[in-house]
């Protein structure tokens, strides 16, 4: 239907934009690093340690009251924020956060648990019948491990994907794909530093999914590049890549479109708990689509691919049923 009105054959000279795109990407990456190092990531308690307690806001209680009650406990800096409409029914909640407790005997884990209990008790005493929707306390030992294992997961995933692509394609493709992935991950992290969205375990899951999605996108373009490169042996590699990208363009836009639709519905209707994760995914889908063309393919063009005898003998695999 609608696609019939989409131009049957697009002929965008993507590769001729590769220099401005390169500049654009380098600027974005530099800005991301700048943001990450100056403003920093807003680590949630998963990675920073500390406590978060979320209470349903009683009718006649406001943030000030809660701040007063919790402030008296001597927990260091306490943040108290009201958040409207986090649940389905638009329940108003008050979120109380405080950082890792300093313990004289060095047992910060225990101090954190004690602090959490005392906040609960103080809230119950001050506001009888208060509904504590959730509470979490993460000691510094665990938070350090969670961050480390998250980063290891990211690293291992990148290495394995690179290996898979090297085996299925050629090393130039693998390098291009992985460069695109680093590009996506760094810029998404830069975006998190800029917006100060909370960076937590779900964000790492989202980053890994972006890696998967971006790789998926890149592989589909590469598959076409390889096919067309076989078909047009004499054609300039830049032209071959342009043909491949144009041929997969409507697929790229359609899939990005449906994925964005689904993600937007989580962002808008999924409540605050999922908003950070869906924000990362939305941003990642956009940047991943861009990078599969202007980073991954452009890098393959710069590195060149082996189109000689060796390439002919490469595994074609998976054809037919």
């Amino acid at each position: 239907m609608l696609l019939q009105y989409w131009p049957q054959k697009t002929d965008v000279k993507f590769m001729s934009f590769r220099l401005p795109a390169l500049v654009f990407s380098v600027v974005l990456i530099a800005a991301s690093f700048f943001m990450i190092f100056t403003k920093g990531l807003n680590f949630g308690i998963d990675f920073a340690g500390g406590s978060v307690i979320e209470i349903e806001q009683p009718v006649d209680v406001n943030e000030q009251d809660v701040r007063g009650v919790v402030g008296e406990l001597g927990l260091g800096e306490v943040q108290v924020n009201a958040a409207r409409g986090t649940g389905v029914e638009g329940i108003e909640v008050i979120v109380i956060r405080f950082a890792t407790q300093v313990a004289e005997d060095g047992d910060q884990e225990a101090a954190q648990q004690v602090a959490n209990n005392s906040v609960r008790a103080a809230l119950e005493a001050a506001f009888p019948g208060v509904n504590i929707r959730s509470s979490a306390a993460v000691g510094p030992k665990v938070s350090g491990e969670l961050l480390r294992s998250g980063l290891i997961a990211l690293g291992v995933a990148l290495a394995l994907m690179m290996l898979y692509i090297s085996v299925r394609f050629q090393w130039q493709y693998a390098l291009g794909a992985v460069a695109a992935l680093f590009h996506d991950v760094i810029i998404t992290m830069g975006m998190f530093a800029l917006t100060q969205f909370e960076f937590n375990l779900s964000t790492i899951a989202a980053l890994l999914t972006i890696v998967g999605y971006s790789m998926n996108d890149t592989v589909i373009v590469f598959d076409r590049v390889r096919e067309e490169a076989r078909k047009y042996k004499k054609l300039d590699l830049g032209q071959v890549i342009d043909i491949a990208i144009n041929q997969t363009l409507s697929r790229t836009l359609l899939t990005s479109g449906t994925t964005l639709l689904a993600l937007l519905s989580i962002y808008i209707f999924g409540g605050t708990v999922l908003s950070g994760m869906s924000f990362a995914l939305i941003f990642g889908v956009v940047i991943g689509t861009y990078s599969s063309i202007f980073v991954a393919s452009a890098l393959v063009l710069m590195l060149g691919i082996d189109r000689g005898e060796k390439a002919k003998r490469e595994v074609v695999g998976f054809q037919g049923t």
């Binding site: 375990l201 779900s202 209707f269």
Partner: protein, 558 residues
């Protein structure tokens, strides 16, 4: 590619039917499925009424027994509950063990010629011993090596490492290998004790699982307050019965810092001091059972326990000899109650009374019966989700999924028309299969898992789109609908596999290295990848083939 022999069609239908059947229970209530409700022991009228209603519904259920009844297993973030990560300190376990070995060490070195002083206090998990005479070093080492306690029954590591320092010093410490084994041993014991404490009747759904060598994860669905669990597990559970000296002069002397030898001052909850004999008459290992009971005087909750045969015998003899004296029941260094002995207590039935609530008395009974923890449990992570928030999250997730699904379906039909409708059909089959797989595998659905499903909804059409684009191209180069469809599927296969295997790698890594909710996300993502390749490549192709055969279109509107 478009030939679907009967066996293939049968296989496709079987997979879809099987997935549908596995997913089906999720649409009904437990009562409808004939699942008996779990007795939570709640005593308020509302809960009892609900329990009775569910039970009645379960009994009347006509759900056939051969159909599956297991639903998607909801994570704690969706059903509400308490997650606690606890850690055992191996050093402390080692120190406790060394402490219990001190008596043996003292015995073998008990030749007054051998050591300067008594065996000194240990310093953490090391015990320094200074010999009176350096010449006795060889003798002392030989004697110490004779104590060769091992962990476990067979083939355990030696616990002690004995090291000579300088001329006359010996350092006894717990060897590194033994420390590991002791921690693992303590972990097993602790899991058992935690289970008995938290779940004395074996009816609740508390899950207690080891993580690594020193950690234990406790998950209690439905629990809203972590403090009760922390309180129950935070106590060592060391219970003793000690005779007490109640003469005012002895107590006064002790309070000025000169206690009677072998006695010590211990307080109760109200700060009243008791002077108790350090050597207990009865310890936790002499207790056979403990239950919550009632005080016969005023019917208030109390804790009853029964001593084992030998414990009862010892206790009876001691009480017979100490008529009119006090005895103290001490738990973790605090006097729980200190009744006066009016007559000898034979038979081994003892009661602790106090101002307990029913819950406190039950918890205390569970702690006493479960026995003493081999070391302190440290809580290093706690997450609690209230049942209200869990229900909200499910509603929000379900709503987002339905809206996402509708948007994607409309978009696909606008983009591709009829054949887009086929893709939507297989998308729905995909979601049913994901639900069926989650229910059938017993995988846990978490909040990020719901995000994973929604993401899959968006990405599931990808394989269809790749194929449709190929078909368009083939048709453009002049092929007939049938050959265009065949060629489209053939040429898209390798792309689809390459693309999905890479995403699958990411999901697998997430599963292996992730924890909790992230793992849940990985599971749904991985299942989604498998089912979407199947539905796009098999189900949609089958729909298309049937339609091509029936409608025989001249040109595909694609």
């Amino acid at each position: 590619m478009l030939n679907f022999p009967a066996w293939k069609v049968a296989l496709i239908c079987l997979v879809l039917l099987w997935g549908g059947l596995l997913a089906l229970p999720n649409a009904f209530s437990d009562g409808f499925l004939g699942i008996q409700p779990r007795d939570t022991g709640a005593t308020d009228p509302q809960s009892i009424l609900e329990y009775d209603q569910q039970k009645a519904a379960a009994e009347q259920s006509w759900w056939p027994g051969f159909l599956p009844t297991s639903k998607v297993n909801l994570g704690l973030d969706l059903q509400g509950g308490v997650y606690l990560l606890t850690e055992i300190d191996p050093e402390e376990v080692a120190a406790n063990r060394l402490e219990s070995l001190q008596a043996d060490i003292r015995d073998v070195l008990n030749d007054p010629q051998l050591i300067t002083r008594d065996v000194p206090e240990q310093d953490g998990s090391t015990l320094p011993i200074r010999l009176r005479n350096p010449d006795q070093m060889d003798d002392a080492l030989r004697r110490l090596r004779r104590i060769n306690p091992t962990i476990g029954a067979t083939g355990g590591e030696k616990i002690m490492s004995i090291e000579q320092r300088g001329e006359a010093m010996i350092m006894i410490s717990v060897s590194d290998a033994a420390m590991q084994a002791l921690a693992a041993d303590a972990q097993d014991k602790m899991i058992e004790i935690i289970r008995r404490r938290l779940d004395p009747d074996g009816v609740s759904e508390v899950s207690i699982t080891p993580q690594g060598d020193t950690r234990i994860v406790i998950e209690a669905p439905g629990e809203a307050d972590p403090r009760r669990i922390k309180d129950i597990l935070g106590r060592a559970g060391r219970m003793t019965f000690n005779m007490a000296d109640s003469s005012p002069s002895s107590i006064a002397a002790a309070e000025t810092g000169r206690p009677r030898p072998g006695f010590e001052l211990v307080q109760d909850e109200n700060g009243i001091s008791y002077l108790i004999n350090r050597t207990p008459v009865v310890t936790g290992s002499d207790i056979a059972t403990a239950n919550q009971g009632y005080d016969p005087d005023d019917n208030s909750p109390a804790v009853d326990f029964r001593l084992t045969g030998s414990g009862a015998e010892r206790f009876g003899r001691t009480t017979a000899n100490n008529r009119g004296e006090l005895f103290a029941i001490v738990l973790d260094g605090k006097v729980m109650s200190a009744p006066r002995i009016n007559e000898p207590i034979w038979g081994g039935n003892v009661q602790i009374t106090g101002s307990f609530s029913m819950q406190e008395a039950q918890d205390l009974a569970a702690i006493i019966e479960a026995g003493e923890l081999p070391g302190k449990l440290g809580f290093i992570e706690e997450r609690t989700v209230g049942p209200g928030l869990g229900a909200d999250s499910i509603r929000a997730g379900t709503r987002a999924s339905i809206i996402g699904l509708v948007l994607v379906a409309v978009f696909m039909i606008i983009a591709y028309g009829l054949i887009g409708g086929f893709a939507v059909g297989s998308l729905i089959a995909n979601i049913v299969l994901i639900l069926g797989a989650l229910s059938g595998l017993g995988a846990t659905l978490t909040l990020p898992g719901i995000a994973g499903i929604i993401l899959t909804i968006g990405m599931a059409v990808d394989a269809n789109v790749i194929v449709f684009e190929r078909i368009r191209e083939e048709q453009r180069s002049g092929r007939s609908p049938n050959t265009a469809v065949i060629a489209g599927y053939e040429r898209a296969l390798s792309t689809i596999l390459d693309a999905n295997i890479t995403t699958f790698i990411a999901a697998a890594i997430l599963y292996m290295l992730g924890s909790g909710p992230v793992k849940g996300f990985a599971v749904t993502l991985a299942i989604g990848i498998v089912t979407s390749v199947f539905t796009a490549f098999v189900v949609t192709r089958w729909f298309t083939a049937v339609w091509l055969r029936l409608a025989k279109p001249r040109k595909l509107s694609i």
